[in-house]
Amino acid sequence: MRITCPICGERDRREFYYQGAASMLDRPDPDADGQVWSDYLHLRDNPAGLTRELWYHEAGCGAWLIVERNTVTHEIIGTELVEAADAD
């Protein structure tokens, strides 16, 4: 498996650390309801098809990536940085 890091280019998947669903980016407001926080922590979709996941270029530049991937074909549709390029 190979993943294209937007900073470093295409690399072997062993350079990356897999975290989980990209829904972790949608962090609730601090004062959101307990149930909202609980759902954020525990609930994950389990799609047969397109999924957005978090990968960390641990043996590379240290960038966190959002990888869009097909769980059926293993095709990687695209990668982008968690930290949007225009953030700062």
Partner: protein
Amino acid sequence: MRIEGKGRIDRGNKISFRFDGRDHHGFAADTLASALMAEGVRLMGRSFKYHRPRGVLTLGSEEPNALVTVGRGLAADPNTRATMQEIYEGLEARSQNRWPSLDFDLMGVNDLAAPFLGAGFYYKTFMWPKAFWEKLYEPVIRRAAGLGALSGKADGERCDKAFAFCDVLVIGGGPAGLMAALSAAQAGADVILCEEENGLGGRLRYEDEEIGGGRAHLWADDMAERLAAMENVRIMTRTAVTGAFDQGTFGALQRVSHHLAKPGKRPRETFWRIAAKRAVLCAGALERHIAFRDNDRPGVMMAGALRGYLNRFGTVPGRNVAVFGNNSDAHRTARDLAQAGVNVVALIDSRHDAENLAGDVPFYPGAQVVRGLGRKGLDGIVLRLPNGREERFAVQALGVSGGWNPSVHLTCHMNGRPVWDERLLAFVPKDGAVPGMRVAGAARGRFSTAECLKEGADAGLEAAKALGFSGDLPRVPDAEAGRYRIGRLMAVAGKGRAWLDFQNDVTVKDVKQAAAENFRSVEHMKRYTTQGMATDQGKSSNVLALAVLADATGREIPETGTTTFRPPYTPVAIAALGAGAEGKGFAPERLTTSDESTRARGAPMIEAGLWYRPSYFPRAGEETWRDSCDREVRMVRENVGVCDVSTLGKIALQGRDVGAFLDFVYANTFSTLKPGRVRYGIMLREDGHVMDDGTTARLSETSWVLTTTTAAAGQVVRHLDWVRQAFCPNMDVRFVSETEQWAQFAVAGPKARELVNDLLDTPIDGEVFPFMACAERQICGVKGRLFRISFSGEHAYEVAVPARYGASLFGLLADRAEAMGGGAYGMEALNVLRIEKGHITHAEIHGRTTAFDIGFQRMLSGKKEFIGKALAARPGLLEESREQLVGLRALKPEQPLPAGGHLFETDAEPIRENDLGYITSTCFSPTLGETRALAFLRNGRARHGDRIRMVDHLRDQVTWCEVTDPVAFDPEGGRLRD
């Protein structure tokens, strides 16, 4: 025997080798199989289950029978296919799975018991008593069955791993692969051409035909030279591509030195991971046989192999030969044999309407071979003619062709399913089964050389064009364009055992029995009979077995389906897959700058993750580790000790917003920390549990240093990267791990300041450098860092210098400490010191404990948002009945309180239902003169002073103890502020 004038071997270069203790001779370019065949050896192995005598069946890596062990001792390579082993001077090979000898194998008695050993025998027979399986049945079966054995010793590092990258990977160096590589390379693509054999040409090396008016095998040699001369082509022979994986990753096994008499320092094998933007699969096709009674006699082999041995090696297994097939290709074998002067007794084609394409040989259309005769070698066959009459022929060799199967394996590695082609009576690959991979030539069911050349050229150019290269098709030379015709015959009807899977001894009857017992799914049949489960993975027999199953269940083959082809295509030794990951390759050593000096002082080392740290520093007269440990603890409490703490994670942070960032990642507040000060912090996971703890120093307005525990250093960096990139993109903060850039030493004890001042360019006192102060300082003229922090509970400092000065600073510190009555201390003493002080490590913050549990709830700031805040406030995480951190002291001072021991009320039965908690850390405290422990106890903070019982069921230990505050020594902390 060798045929004069035939073969492409170097007859001037004679090579001697040994097989089963006997001397043999062959010629350069011979394989072990061809050389043995030339010397009249037909019996090369015994089968797995019935120990039937077996001879060579094929000429490639799909060989099921001729498996041998090459070499001896640690260098022994079991299960080497004689068809792939090139001979060299002094080669020593032995047959396998026989005792006492290949010729006389006692286990051959299994064959007589065959009526009782059919499909499912083991499942049905060895069911009970249950205990017998492990102790009796399995060991006995394992000894009786099986292949060659490994040496049983550690392999050493005889395999290697490597990585390669290319635009176009061409898999297979036959006519299609050669043209594919040429057209892709001419268009400008970087090409890797992998070929499993020792040279290029594929089937052309084994055929007697012409390309472009010249000999086909010489054309292949020319092409090999031409490609080798191109800068953008890398030819990898003896390299089998074993698997196709996601995003154009391929596994490949290169046999580096199996063929060398003196391998020198070369590895035996190298496992390659090849990243290719496009691939062209030109893996060719493999012949399958036909099942008939006793079709496994040595001397019966694939028709294509029979003619291959003749054309390439000039060898045949006997003087009188017959050929039996259901297709036009079998005729070529009869033709080539006859032209070479071998006595072709019969060409038998099961198709009634077949035309003789072999020339002047006795031809039997519509006939079938119903039986092979002989035991340790074929001495005849029985033919059934179309009119039903049976006839016997004396032959020593029979070439069998049940048709050709395109090598679709790699196209199935990503879940692609091949498609049944009714015209070819074989599975062909589905288009696009592996993204970026094209299939060309025989692997796609295009069997003539002319088609292979054309398809290869097209596919190579298309692959290059898909990557943006452009070019013209190379000229495709004229070549053999005969049409392949086949009629359906998989198994000849009749009595007796007709073999499908030679390696696992599966017969037609076994498959029928499986169907009769309702194992109708092909995957079930496979597992019930073990069809196709040996090292050859049924390459020459699976389709036959499917056909028999289809017939037995009244279905067609497409309906029956095929089993799943998975990597690897050919067997790959675990040693090759794991190359580089043995021993220290698996767990590299991380050494501190004080390592050499520490070992020189006689300290036994213990592992902390990948780090090695001193356990204790023994001194003369100390008999046990406890003697040393107790002395080191007293040394720190009464004098001064030095300890390397460089393994703790050190993260340098810079920017205007570091304080705000740390406020968000830590549960407590850091933005209020003044430059020159240090603060302890705890970090939560988003689920509200403690992730890590440590001190953070603010060296200046914008420069900070954060420390992590040794164990969590990597995790914390990852977490900080996550939090900053995901949630704080607009903060002015950047950080980097500098764990290995700094050597850091704890100097602890009442005389710590005296020792530190000895080395500082400008001495300090309590005023300029109070508890929790930090600064950049000149240490022996080197710019370093000084922190006044304490894990031991004593007046203590941590001194950091750039790593290159670490060894010398440690030496200075340890020597001077010794001169002052102190010395270096190790992990054992460090642990005792912190347990006495109730300081936590990852034994306590083990991932299931909260700040509430360890008594740090008040550190959770109510004034700011931070990671883990919302979920740490869940009611279930704040209940008083939770297991809370406490201290324990043994009532009988020397009695142990082992970590892992569980806590119970004094009068409660020590069973799980009554469990109140468990011990996480333990020590004998020389300071307090008693056994101390840290533990988690239900409602523990309300129970200080209570007596409870510790029961360690594993070590059979019961200790009565008293619950205390976690801090057992100097609870006011006066010593560290002195």
